[in-house]
Symmetry: C2
């Protein structure tokens, strides 16, 4: 079993990574929690596949188990769904000493984590991520959130989990679209911080190739995330580099009304835009831009962008990362090295128009 | 000007108390905030009386000011109202560096504080409490919350304000009902922690008498609250004593559907019940119970309880303070001395039936 220790303001917690460990989740959780009662929050699809395995293991360790199921998909990261889950906790008379367990992908983790952050002003919670995206990214670092019509993740809290249990075997039931979501983030980690990881991903050459090394890849990614989170838990500086491709990506997702592109696809396009902008500004060298586009293509992630540049900038203006000095971008210097860059809205518009043209030409 | 420094986990902040200080709020806030922009959250009544005074002062110190108004009353502490305020912040493109200012009573403070806690995962905020209840209680200590149908304050966060600005002159526009709300909490502070304060309140003998000494009273109460909050910011132990009368009070409010009794009235009844239970258990001496009932009567607060004892216990069972060992009560030993006490649901039902009978007899 691989272990990573994450130091947060409030306490230190572990990420445990091992193929097949879901069926021992009860034991692992009992080591960090005295709670008599656990409420699992999951979506219908995940629950059908893994609910009873987790439940059996928890009951063995004498947890009383309840479960709350939500509909699969980003559509559940709403205030409505949040309200329903909280009301159900109230109806179940869940108390402050009880434990929340998020069993699912990013949507379940973000929503259940936010519920745990604010129900009775905060309950302990455990993350059991079931998608590649959640295993390498959203389950680590304590960021929880729900969406508003005005923006993704606009309401949320920093609330660290007591434990993250990651079972790479769960990936075997994911479809390619779901795997690609995670690959976009994995490529991101390599691009911003770890040239060795990036090089290995180039060697593996495809999703199928990478799958053979997934336990190691997840470990590397979680460890990179740990290092950013420990430096900057509240996301005021260094941690923002993790947002590489995401400001553009969020805008692209929003323009497509969260249905046209998945988060991973949008982030892939966003990374490609960020590389393009970095090159125009003379920050990113040309070889780096090329390697990024190539690896995204190899992992079947989109690099072409159809959205209008003005729409993209308009939607970026509401991002949490901005301040009155301008929009905050993450740019690459080269593979494995990234930096934060502030740009005025108008300047970004001008450059972005060119960059989008270039990207289209490149493809054609 | 009276000042109290409150040390919290995240930072130290001040409570500033001075008659007439609202018109200088801009100066006071500028000393603790570099924000370019402030969004005031207030209710329609308060805004009509004090909005322009605060706004003028803020603009003088070069804050760009927006305002969001909610309907007055507990009915605004809902998820619906919370959602509307957050969406309005999104529409106004409020960013992470902007400042929230809560101008109003407990409802505005609790709601705006919670919005500030979770909008973009946390913005700085300032409390300007305009009711006696908010000035002596809810504006201090960083507890923010909204209600669910399943219980009051069931969703919330700990989020400390950057500053609390308390202007006792604002009390002059309150009606008697509003003053009584605050008096219930003031009597509570004396009862659980400060026998000198309690004695003075007995001497003042009435709301009108106490009003002449209000700046001093507010200072005393805030300082008592400070001492509890500093010892136990997250409300896991000592701070719970501040809940004297409140577990019963919340249940009584809920039974009356939040319309039959005000919070202050319900807390007054709750304190009287807690004294009765303390006496039955041999913890509270008879003289203490008598003095408590008398002072509540002197300040025109209700002591008689019409609710059914089974209903009260049923509604108490969902309280955040409980755990599997039973219901958590705050009881008095004598005036100025309180303790935490855990009681099984069934035992509480048995005693409560007697206590309610006694209280009714006493009145008749």
């Amino acid at each position: 079993m691989k272990e990573i220790e994450v130091k947060s303001r409030a306490f230190t917690y572990r990420i445990l990574i091992e193929a097949g460990c879901l069926e021992r989740c009860g034991e692992m959780i009992r080591k960090v929690s005295d709670s008599k009662r656990a409420v699992m929050i999951s979506d219908d699809n995940v629950w059908e596949k893994y609910g009873s395995i987790a439940e059996t293991s928890l009951k063995k360790m004498s947890f009383a188990v309840d479960s709350i199921r939500i509909k699969p998909g980003e559509g559940s990261k709403t205030i409505d769904c949040f309200t329903k889950v909280c009301e159900e906790l109230g109806n179940l008379k869940v108390l402050k000493d009880d434990l929340i367990i998020a069993l699912g992908g990013g949507v379940v983790g973000d929503l259940a984590g936010f519920v745990a952050a604010v129900y009775m002003r905060g309950l302990n919670y455990i993350q059991i991520p079931t998608t590649l995206l959640a295993q390498v990214d959203s389950s680590v670092g304590g960021k929880t959130a729900i969406d508003l019509p005005q923006g993704k993740n606009l309401i949320g809290a920093f609330h660290q989990p007591l434990l993250v249990i990651t079972d790479p075997e769960l990936l075997s039931t994911l479809n390619k679209k779901q795997l690609k979501q995670g690959m976009a983030e994995i490529i991101k980690y390599g691009a911003i911080k770890d040239k060795e990881l990036f090089k290995k991903l180039e060697q593996y050459g495809s999703i199928e190739g990478a799958l053979l090394h997934m336990e190691e890849i997840i470990y590397r990614c979680c460890d990179i995330k740990r290092s950013f989170v420990e430096q900057d838990e509240r996301d005021n500086g260094e941690r923002r580099k993790l947002n590489f491709g995401h400001s553009f990506g969020h805008a692209i997702e929003k323009i497509g009304n969260y249905t046209l592109h998945s988060h991973g696809e949008a982030v892939a396009m966003g990374m490609n835009i960020a590389a393009g902008i970095g090159m125009k500004l003379g920050i990113t060298d040309a070889e780096t831009g090329k390697r990024l586009t190539q690896i995204l293509n190899a992992y079947e992630l989109p690099t072409q962008v159809q959205s209008n540049y003005k729409d993209i900038v308009r939607h970026m203006a509401i991002d949490k990362k901005n301040d009155e000095k301008g929009l905050k971008l993450v740019l690459l210097k080269n593979i494995g090295q990234s930096l934060l860059y502030t740009i005025a809205e108008q300047e970004l518009e001008n450059i972005l128009e060119d960059v989008l043209d270039d990207i289209l030409e490149l493809i054609v």
